[in-house]
Every structure is written in structure tokens, then in C-alpha cells.
Symmetry: C2
Subunit: 205 residues, 2 copies
DNA sequence: TGTACATCAGTGAACGCGCGTTCACTGATGTAC
DNA sequence: TGTACATCAGTGAACGCGCGTTCACTGATGTAC
């Protein structure tokens, strides 16, 4: 790996871990440069100020999360072409992925920054907002595909159902952090999966 | 109100609002005392240090939340003695309460501190943990009462289902903060309500 | 009713420390001719 | 192949500012006798 992206990534890795542990304000540039083995000046070569770090960290997290969802549901689609079963398989894969993390998922950067949003400029807050809206659109699309084949047993707000995937992940991660357990997020996703089975599976149109 | 508790509560109110906006580290004692109209020394008369403030803030939040749940489900039980319908009414009341907040719910202090837990001592972290475990126990108990009357249509992990109430609230609040919308938490609770109807309502034992 | 003392709820100046940021400089690598 | 210059990826000292905390002091209220 070329040394430029290498140092930049190291900075982002250390910053992300620290932000999830202590929050953004308590994450000092001193500790980042000590961890990345560079000098203070080296940090400011890569990021013009601390807000630029926040922006880059969030963007990288969002991109990674989107790539993960793309990959997960593409694999699920290969395994079963029916939209409901694709969704159920994708959620199972997601739950397994969370269970397989040895230390447990460290938490969501979006939730961390959402609970400190006054520290950031409007650009950062908008990044957060667009990410969640993107997932709403993604999952609402998938649920509409399902509803075209399986009539929902109860009337459902499709935007809210789209949000529910993000909501269940975020909620599970909050629990997991507060409880110091490892599999709450995974369990909550499996409960969502059962929900979707009950909601859609009964009667094929 | 006597002036003592008055000043203490004012400090806690200002601290809570600021922690939800900016996080704990970025909440300065200077801004708290300015808002509460006292001097720096006055703050340290009420709290021995910043960690004591965190502990008091969390304890007050947890007590209020517990009182709210007690009240809500007691009222629900008055309206309908059946455990399932009591739960459904209680969740509806909770959702309505969230919708009725003019500025939207400001967010959960537990989630905020869970995402900054390395700033606090073990006592604070334990407070957080015990609160979530308390809600798990509370709601698992209610779900077991329901399951004794209505057989669940799918096998369910009762601890995880107990956690789901907290998880849905926490997840909804994260969304609501990130999106700058007002009713995501309320919508997610209504989706949970539909879930429980599908899971339990069909066949009475 | 008066006096002495204790407690309560603060005031406000002072402390040292760590923070984010700037800046002049540097050595290695790349490019033009 | 050699020389001149530009760019990249940093170094490390210095800056001023705001932070949490301490501490000697104060005026109002409560209590004992």
C-alpha cells in the first residue's frame, strides 16, 4: 500500500475507535498522532482541521456500510431469487456477520455523531442524514418488491418499515454497548426477520 | 420550590440538554454555571466533580423513565386487563406521548453516554447497564404473561423480545436525531406494536 | 428576647494543564530539459 | 547522464485559549441556651 493512503487510513482507524469509546471532543489529535506514529504537523498535512477528520471518518464509514449491504444482499439474491426469501437470507447473513465479530461490533459512527451533532458543521450533519435516507430508500424498495408478491397481513407504512432495518441495527448496537454484551444487535435483527416472516409470508398473491 | 433542589435541578437540566447536543466532554462547567446563573464554585458545592454530575444526571434520567413506564402501563392495565391488549395500549400511549412532544424527544441520555463510556467510571457504566437490564426484565415479564394466554406463532427468545422495546426506542431516537425528524421513534414503536399483534393475537390458548 | 455558634448555598480569583492550530523547515522522490 | 526545480509527506517547537478544580471567604438562615 502506498504510504500516503496508509497513514491517512491509520489516522482514520485510530480516530474511529476513539470516537466510539470516548466521543469526538475527547478524541485528541495528540493521541491520534501518537497511535499513528507521526507528529502533530503530520496530522494537519492530511486534514485541514478536526472537522475535516470528522467528515472523512463518516464518509468512509458510510461507504463501507453501503458496500457491505450491496455485497450481502447480492449474495442473498444469488441464493434465492424470491424477494422475500432474499431479504430473509440477507438479514440472516447480517446477523451472522455480527455474531462472528470476535470483540462484538464496536458501534455505529453515525449514532455516535448523531448524539454529538452540535460539534460539527452542517456538511457533516447532512452526510449523516443522507446516509440514513439512503438506507430508507434501499430497504423500502426491497419491501415494495416483496409486497408486490406477498400481501402484508397488516397495513404498513413503507417508509417506516424501510427505516426499521437501520433502527433495529442502531438500537441493538446501543444495547450491546450499554450492556457490554456481544450479540444483542444480532438477536434484534433475527427478531426483525421473524417479524417479516409473519407480516409477509402467509399469502402469496 | 426550595432554592437548593432548584439550583441542582437547573444544573442537571442544562447539563442534560448540552450532553444530548454535544456530548459530555464538550459540555463545559463554564456553560452550565452561566446557564444556571451561578458561579463556578457554586457548581462544585453541588457536585464534587464532573463524574458526579454524570452519575446524578443518569440516575435522574433512569428514575424518570422508570416512573414513566410504571405510569403508562398502569393506565393501560386500567383500560384493559388482558395482558396482550394492555401491552398494545401501553405502546400506543408511548407512541402518542412521543408524537405530542412539540420539539420531538431530545434523545436518550443512556445512548449518549453508552457512546462515550470511556469517559466515565465503572459506577456510571454500571448504572447504564442495570437500567437496560431492568427494562429487559420488566418487558420480558409482560411478554411471558401474554405468552401464557396467547401462544406465539413463531418460537421467540423472550430476553431478546424484552430488549426489543428498549432497542426500538433507542433505534428510533438515533434515527430521529440523525434525520432531524420528529416522529421516527413513534413510528418504530407502532411497527413493534403491529409485530406483537401478528406474533400473539391469532390463537388464544 | 438576645447572643453565640453552625450550617447552607453559594462567590470569584487563581492554578496548571492539555488542547487545536500554525509555521518555518526538511529530506526523499518525481519531472523537464 | 546530469542538473534544476517542484511536489510529497512529513517534523517539531511555539502560540494562546479554555478547561476542571481548589480555596479562602461571605452573607443568610437555623439552632441552643
Amino acid at each position: 500500500m502506498d504510504p500516503k493512503t496508509d497513514t491517512r487510513s491509520r489516522i482514520l482507524n485510530i480516530a474511529e475507535a476513539s470516537v466510539l469509546k470516548k466521543g469526538f471532543e475527547a478524541t485528541s489529535i495528540e493521541e491520534i498522532v501518537a497511535g499513528a506514529d507521526i507528529s502533530r504537523g503530520g496530522f494537519f498535512y492530511h486534514f485541514k482541521d478536526k472537522n475535516a477528520l470528522a467528515r472523512a471518518m463518516l464518509q468512509r464509514y458510510i461507504d463501507a456500510e453501503n458496500a457491505l449491504y450491496d455485497d450481502l444482499f447480492a449474495r442473498a439474491r444469488e441464493l434465492n431469487d424470491d424477494p422475500l426469501h432474499c431479504m430473509l437470507i440477507g438479514l440472516k447473513l447480517l446477523a451472522e456477520m455480527l455474531t462472528d465479530m470476535p470483540e462484538g461490533h464496536p458501534g455505529c459512527v453515525i449514532a455516535a455523531t448523531a448524539y454529538q451533532d452540535r460539534l460539527f458543521d452542517e456538511g457533516v450533519r447532512d452526510l449523516n442524514r443522507q446516509a440514513i435516507l439512503g438506507w430508507r430508500t434501499r430497504f423500502r424498495g426491497m419491501f415494495e418488491e416483496i409486497a408486490a408478491v406477498y400481501e402484508p397481513k397488516e397495513p404498513i407504512n413503507m417508509d417506516a418499515l424501510g427505516d426499521m432495518v437501520s433502527s433495529v441495527v442502531e438500537g441493538g448496537l446501543v444495547l450491546q454497548r450499554a450492556l457490554r454484551e456481544h450479540n444483542n444487535a444480532s438477536q434484534q435483527i433475527m427478531l426483525l426477520r421473524t417479524y417479516l416472516k409473519l407480516l409477509f409470508a402467509q399469502r402469496q398473491i
